[in-house]
Homo-oligomer: 380 residues x 2
Amino acid sequence: MEKNYLKKFINIKRETKGMINIDPLQAGGILTKEARQSLLEWGDGFSVCDFCRGKLDEIKTPPIYEFLHQSLPEFIGADAVCLTHGAREGKFMIMYAIAKPGDFVIIDKNAHYTTYVAAERARLNIKEVPNSEYPEFKIDVNKYEDAIKSIKKRRSSVALLLLTWPDGNYGNLPDVKKVVEISKKHKIPLLLNTAYAVGRMPVNLREIGVDFVIGSGHKSMASSGPIGFVGMKKEWENILMKKSEYFEKKEVEILGCSVRGVSLMTLMASFPQVVERVKKWPEQVEKARWFSEELEKIGIKQLGEKPHNHDLMFFESKKFFEISKKHKKGPFFLYKELKRNNIWGIKPGLTKHFKISTFATTKEELKKVIQVFRNILGKN
Amino acid sequence: MEKNYLKKFINIKRETKGMINIDPLQAGGILTKEARQSLLEWGDGFSVCDFCRGKLDEIKTPPIYEFLHQSLPEFIGADAVCLTHGAREGKFMIMYAIAKPGDFVIIDKNAHYTTYVAAERARLNIKEVPNSEYPEFKIDVNKYEDAIKSIKKRRSSVALLLLTWPDGNYGNLPDVKKVVEISKKHKIPLLLNTAYAVGRMPVNLREIGVDFVIGSGHKSMASSGPIGFVGMKKEWENILMKKSEYFEKKEVEILGCSVRGVSLMTLMASFPQVVERVKKWPEQVEKARWFSEELEKIGIKQLGEKPHNHDLMFFESKKFFEISKKHKKGPFFLYKELKRNNIWGIKPGLTKHFKISTFATTKEELKKVIQVFRNILGKN
């Protein structure tokens, strides 16, 4: 391999740096200053293992033990926490560990694609609980019970209920308490996927009453990725954190140890600020609602729950769609206009439907976004 | 949670910075200057997804597509490469995808603990091929055939052969060509675990003739962790990279996408230097042999293959062990003496047996290590 050819892999600059970021996928994962410092300090492979005595979660220097056994469980109200490579890996881990191939998992129709793929990898069957469709796409949580009954009638087994809270398309927050009731009544464990919640808004496993809470560091906890966790009730510890028959300290489902690297250090370094920002969640909701109202004034309709309860929102713009049909840049005009105005986060080619998060932006920045939308509509 | 309590998670300094590092786990994962730059540039969660169109390995900006589909496969002589969270995750992925629960995997007795745990997680049975025991611990590769026959006699099925090359204890490089012959004769695929090879020494899947090669970024490719890959022959692509029945672009075994983060950027940024350093492997072997000879002169015996063919070596020191029995710091004396002399990598409490890698150190630095060993022996 020629040296010159390989030069393309070094010194790559990120093109989107410094832009106003309204991408729901990225808004919650922007590092804090402290996390950026820890990146440089702990970047080397296996750096966190300096003082490891055989088990990642028991490392005292740096204080991984305290983080994983005290602070993070307390933060999410869990009896125990297991670190994973991300939310999807956490979902697979639970499904694979507690279900048999062929069992059913009942999921909400708004579930992330990785919920489907995790179930598929675990060789489970999927039963969907529908949403109310256009325009709110709300999950009818009572239908979890119908789903259980219909599967049992066929003499199949339901291993798990899963609810996405909020979902990553509409940012809807379904009535989880009702699903908890159904879960308890039928004695089927309930997994709450909070990849867009923990780190943004208050989530407490014990208060909500679910069996598992899944979180994502790079999605919502100002952390490098990939990293996530499974929070659980005590009764699941023996199954999910089962020790190897060959090596008594090593946990089977995480292959001995999971995020042995710098993502964990950024998750920890951002944690104090994450704890603080969650306290200000009502301000985030207020900002999101205000933004939604402003866009509606210029004819961009917010789908999903209204009034909205989360920073992640789905919009429909028939006007942008009409423009795209005539514009010389076609469906890419919106993306290009926004980029030219230093606004990042709407995928190239989208005009009629797109997602926006207001989480990482100030009201001043959002005013600019609204103004740019207005200008684009005016110009065309 | 109190703010003051949480302060412990920020601004944590790495105690071992700047020390001479002879830890085999860390020697190959020290970042290059270029990787350190990319850390800061790409640290934010989901930063690499800026221009993603639904599949990580197809991202052109940054040039992930070229790295995963051209440069890395060419470097290791594979038809295809799949990114994983590390070597252990790659081993589990292969075992889970190609074997049925209850099948056998035949592994070398020197296999890494995660090989056992990966097989256990995949619900496979393990059959070990023994080593020659003290002092060389060589794997008798001919015994792979005996193992196959004994399992078939019991009417069980062998799904996979696995060889660790080199192993992480003794740094032995068994005769892989012989295992390839046996693998072909019995039509059982062969996985070569090269977590301590790719990135340090030349490895070419096609030339060796194995089905799978497993590599580790944080162990041997100057990368942040966790990250690794599976290199494979074309015929395995359809199984390992099978697409989801629900989402046509998403691969089931990696749950849609694996290392969606900064570790991949460090792996890429270090890659040009890694390609260069592999060309200098003969110098590394020469350095390791010289170091081994020097330690033998002062009564520290190298176990494993001799002359040695890898930078990872296992030593036995009866003298240090004798000292530890009388020393006021007991078995911790060696660790503490080395640390005081700015040398890092022998685990606290070890005196009789310990591992050393000469990979990341210059001959000058190793001369200091030898001198410090000599002084410790002289003083006591």
